[in-house]
């Protein structure tokens, strides 16, 4: 007899049955059911340790089940599974006590491990063996909870509308000239909840075409008064895709610099959603995952005939339902009808995306230069219709409107957007997105990539309004995405596996002869290598190679010599790991494997003709030496060159002979310091930053290159910024674990960047969005 039992709730038979099979095999007792209502019945009479529940269920949603479980059977550990993840539902699930949130599809092992871990955390006495079966409750008004699904008679909608209309402006879909528009509902009969799509989105009542931000006084002391619209409003009959669009607007306007005008409207707006059961011919909402929603509404209606199913999404919504309707628990038949209607509607959308929407950012990124943008935008009128009907567009212009007495003004904002010719034009006349194709591409990139990357929510909800509004018939995002996807597929087909040029020696090191070994300090040596026939390594200063010791492994080592000193190359190496220990033990004449060079190296092109401030801390001098040598060898191509070097103590100084040569060399200004001196040391004592104040810096023509330990970067960067250097003028070389050197293994990644490809040399400006960097 298995010790623990698991209840699986999912309306998809295939999911339910697979989980049952996996877990039964793993030794659990498993029960399954397809609705939340049944699940809640089952937990009243049977003892379960773990609940595995899908978020999207017909009738009671997964979240509602969690809530009920939390209240009635708090000892049951719940695991949420979903194919439609969102941060809102994840947070909510956590709040309601879910121990984890698994994305479908998942591996059997993952679920099993999760259940094992979950059960390991349960004290054995927490569960109870039998529970008394309670008497079926009457559907009383106080039973109306948030995230519950209830049934009301259609006639109840009228009392709901009338109750709302008594104290707020109710806006909803109405018929107009054969189309539907959102406007003020004066009589309940005007409401058309069976609409396909409206000409303009309901989001317009949250970010109107034109609104006043401030009132201003002209002349004298400037005075500005914010203007906020607090009038109560109800959006009655919003389709799920439009609700999801409002959720994006919330993200845009309510995070980082929250927008007072938007927030005031949003707080005073109730959203009553309605399931879209008659999709428009231009909609592709299911492809964007927006044809249904579990969040973003106060109430969500599904018209299933004489009955309307209502899901509560907020306290406000639950209160409305109990106040104005005779809501009751839905019966099994109603729950089944709701699911059947929703499923049938989902099949009715004629347009769809041919790839997963998660792939859009990368797909677009790879096709920035595709001829498609030029071809497709040829007939663009730049009329802005596509962006003026879009529920997820939110860009605007701000301008002043002055009263005729010239004493006062209002500062208003009105819709503006990237498809209009002058959107990116500045006063001097330069238009930064001048061409039709540039604007066209920008819009599609916003919809499929930029907005998603910036706000975490995809920038198109698939409502299809732009498709209807575009006269030349070119605005469709789904058409753009699919065309690009097909081109990508065609390109991939052309790149047939057999036709890719094979590089069998990609991972094979080339033998180089160790011609000289010289100790630098207690633990550091410099190794000079030569290829057969003195073949050049072909590197740039700042690049690295992989050093291979057969049987031990490979390690990335920066090149310490300049390519200007040809015929051989030098690697200065601290004895710190297995590969370096083996190398330190090698004798002159040995053959050592070398792969590379790899990485970008120092940007010589942007350093030339500038003043250079080179700063090395400790063995940071190893990579920087390649640049110092290069600069000395091509001295006429650089302005004033200052080299600062800091070591922890005199005995840890490396390349001592060269240090004293540089000191004597009048071509470069050389300063060094040690953190701690000794009896023999006569030079500077102090950390490296103490050298910087004395350095002469002309910020306009100086580039700084810093190489050293991470802690040094922070202080030196602070000091250089004080001296007026911008992020673009500060260059760093970063150390990471470059295992393969060819952008595959992933060890060297900083956020999304592969250091072995785009690095190891970066400007501070490039590192700004790489939070893992310094």
């Amino acid at each position: 007899m298995p010790e623990h039992s698991v209840l699986v709730v999912d309306d998809e038979p295939i999911v339910r049955e697979s989980i049952r099979d996996w877990l039964t095999e793993a030794g659990y007792a498993v029960a399954t059911t397809e609705t939340g209502e049944q699940a809640l019945e089952m937990v009243k009479t049977q003892d379960f340790s773990v609940l595995v529940v899908d978020l999207r269920l017909p009738g009671k949603t997964g979240l509602a089940v969690l809530e009920a479980i939390k209240a009635e059977r708090p000892w049951i550990k719940s695991i949420v599974i979903t194919a439609y993840p969102s941060s809102e539902t994840a947070q909510e699930a956590r709040r309601l006590g879910a121990v984890d949130y698994l994305l479908k599809p998942f591996a059997p092992d993952d679920l099993e491990r999760l259940i094992n871990d979950t059960l390991a955390a349960i004290p054995p006495e927490a569960t109870v063996a039998t529970v008394e079966r309670p008497i079926a409750e009457a559907p009383a008004a106080e039973a109306i909870t948030v995230r519950g699904t209830f049934a009301i008679d259609k006639e109840d909608l009228r009392s709901l509308y009338e109750g709302l209309a008594a104290s707020a402006k109710v806006v909803g879909p109405t018929a107009k000239q054969g189309k539907y528009v959102f406007r003020k509902i004066k009589r309940f009969e005007e409401l058309r909840l069976d609409y396909d799509v409206t000409v303009q989105p309901p989001a317009n009542f949250l970010r109107p075409a034109k609104e006043t931000l401030l009132t201003l006084k002209l002349g004298g002391a400037p005075g500005a008064e914010p203007v906020l619209d607090e009038s109560p409003r109800v959006l009655f009959g919003v389709h799920p895709y439009d609700i999801r669009a409002i959720e994006l607007l919330d993200e845009v306007f309510m995070t980082a610099h929250p927008d007072p005008n938007y927030i005031t409207r949003r707080r005073n707006t109730l959203i009553i959603g309605v399931d879209c059961l008659h999709p428009s011919a231009n909609s592709f909402a299911p492809s964007m995952g927006t044809h249904q929603t579990e969040t973003g509404f106060d109430l969500l209606l599904t018209d299933i005939g004489s009955t309307v199913m209502v899901t509560t999404g907020s306290e406000r919504g639950a209160k409305l339902l109990s106040e104005y309707t005779q809501a009751r628990e839905p019966n099994d038949n109603e729950i089944a009808t709701q699911k059947a209607l929703r499923d049938a509607a989902a099949e009715e959308y004629p347009l769809s995306l041919e790839i997963a929407r998660e792939r859009l950012p990368k797909l677009l990124e790879d096709h920035y230069d595709d001829p498609y943008w030029e071809e497709r935008s040829e007939s663009c009128l730049s009329c802005g219709s596509c962006i003026m009907v879009c529920p997820t567009c939110f860009c605007f212009d701000v301008k002043d409107e002055v009263s005729l007495d010239l004493k006062g003004a209002v500062r208003v904002r009105q819709w503006d957007g990237c498809m209009l010719t002058d959107f990116a034009k500045v006063s001097g006349g330069e238009n930064f997105r001048h061409g039709k194709a540039d604007r066209f591409r920008h819009r599609i990139f916003r919809k499929g990539k930029y907005v998603l990357e910036r706000y975490g929510i995809v920038g198109c909800v698939g409502c299809g309004r732009c498709i209807s509004a575009c006269l030349p018939e070119i605005a469709s995002p789904v058409e753009a995405f699919n065309t690009i996807a097909r081109r990508a597929k065609a390109e991939a087909a052309r790149r047939l596996i057999g036709k890719v040029e094979l590089q069998p020696d990609l991972y094979a090191p080339q033998p180089a002869k160790l011609v000289r070994v010289e100790p630098l300090a207690a633990n550091e040596k410099v190794f000079e290598f030569q290829f057969d026939n003195e073949k050049s390594l072909g590197h740039r200063p700042g690049q690295f190679v992989e050093v291979s010791m057969a049987g031990i492994g490979e390690a990335p080592i920066s090149i310490s010599s300049s390519p200007t000193r040809d015929g051989s190359f030098e690697l200065a190496i601290r004895n710190v790991g297995n590969v370096t220990r083996a190398l330190h033990g090698s004798k002159e004449g040995a053959l050592i494997g070398i792969r590379g060079p790899f990485g970008n190296g120092f940007p010589i092109e942007s350093l030339e003709w500038k003043d250079l401030l080179l700063v090395a801390g400790g063995i940071g001098l190893f990579p920087l030496r390649s640049l110092v040598q290069y600069v000395i060898d091509c001295r006429e191509r650089f302005g004033r060159v200052t080299l600062l070097f800091g070591a922890r103590s005199p005995e840890e100084r490396v390349f001592k002979t060269e240090l004293s040569q540089w000191e004597e060399n009048s071509d470069i200004e050389f300063q060094e310091t040690v953190d701690r001196g000794d009896e023999a040391w006569e030079g500077n004592v102090g950390v490296i930053t103490t050298l910087i104040p004395a350095v002469e810096i002309t910020p306009a023509k100086t580039m700084a290159v810093i190489v050293g330990p991470p802690i040094m970067y922070r202080f030196v960067i602070g000091e250089l910024k004080k001296r007026g250097l911008a992020d673009e003028q500060i260059i760093l070389s970063l150390e990471r674990r470059m295992k393969c050197g060819v952008g595959k293994c992933g060890h060297c990644q900083i956020n999304g960047v592969y250091v072995c490809q785009e690095g190891p040399v970066f400007t501070l400006a490039q590192l700004r969005n790489m939070r893992e960097a310094v």
């Binding site: 075409a209 007939s379 009128l381 009907v389 005729l404 209009l420 010719t421 030349p472």
Partner: protein, 248 residues
């Protein structure tokens, strides 16, 4: 600072735009009259002045005798503003440019044609330099007032560079094309708040074309919606004979 001297003049036109400035109501009119000194306005008063800070010129140039008169106004005015479609783009008067001039005279005046002279219609900027424009047939008084206020504040008045579609969508209108009719909104400069479409009609293009009109695309769209090439050209003729000629 003394109040700027403003004058109104008309050439070949219906004087509807000047009439519209007179339709400015109540307090706004009082404020306007307080802000400026109207020194010439034939529809209101008979005064004459030697110089003007702002001269509003309505009407197009259709007779030789109008040319020296317009030039004199230009000499006396610091700022010349074209008022309405006739002054701005020639307006409906341009329709006669599709005919030979003596034929046009004969159609209009019949037997008396020999008593009149006429030349092909020109907007005023074809004769003198024009500083700013209040477009439209008739003008939008809100836009007229905005331009006056901006000049009084030392701000350069600018017209929208986007087409009527933008304002039409802002007004929440259903597209004329979706209703099975045709419209010049996609290539016509906005600033009228899409008044014609909002009122249930379509755009005739009275405010002239946007700076970068995609006329090929617009022609294709009109044809796709059932217009013949001749009908398409006819659409543009009403107000945009002069502007489309320039673009050719």
């Amino acid at each position: 600072m003394s109040k700027p001297k403003v004058a109104f003049f008309d050439f070949t036109c219906c004087e509807g735009c000047q009439l519209d400035t007179l339709n400015i109501q109540g307090e706004e009119l009082v404020d306007l009259l307080e802000a400026v000194d109207i020194v010439e306005f034939r529809e209101v008063a008979s005064g004459k002045a030697e110089s003007y800070d702002i001269a509003f010129v309505e009407g197009s140039i259709t007779r030789e005798s109008e040319i020296p008169r317009l030039k004199k106004i230009r000499e006396r005015a610091k700022i010349v503003i074209a008022l309405g479609a006739c002054a701005h783009i020639g307006g409906v008067n341009c329709l006669k440019n599709h005919l030979a001039m003596d034929e046009a005279l004969k159609i209009v005046y019949g037997e008396c044609a020999k008593d009149y002279d006429t030349i092909p219609t020109r907007p005023i900027d074809a004769v003198v330099p024009v500083d700013y424009v209040v477009p439209g047939c008739p003008i939008n008084t809100g836009e007229f007032l905005r331009i006056v206020k901006e000049l009084l504040l030392g701000k350069t008045p600018e017209l929208p560079t986007y087409p009527v579609c933008v304002e039409c969508k802002m007004a929440g209108n259903i597209c004329v094309f979706e209703l099975g009719k045709t419209c010049l909104g996609p290539v016509t400069r906005a600033g009228c708040n899409a008044i014609c479409v909002t009122a249930g009609r379509h755009c005739w293009g009275c405010r002239g074309l946007v700076d970068e009109p995609n006329l090929n695309a617009q022609h294709d769209i009109l044809e796709k919606h059932g217009l013949s090439v001749e009908e398409v050209l006819e659409k543009f003729k009403i107000y945009n004979t002069c502007t489309t000629e320039e673009k050719k």
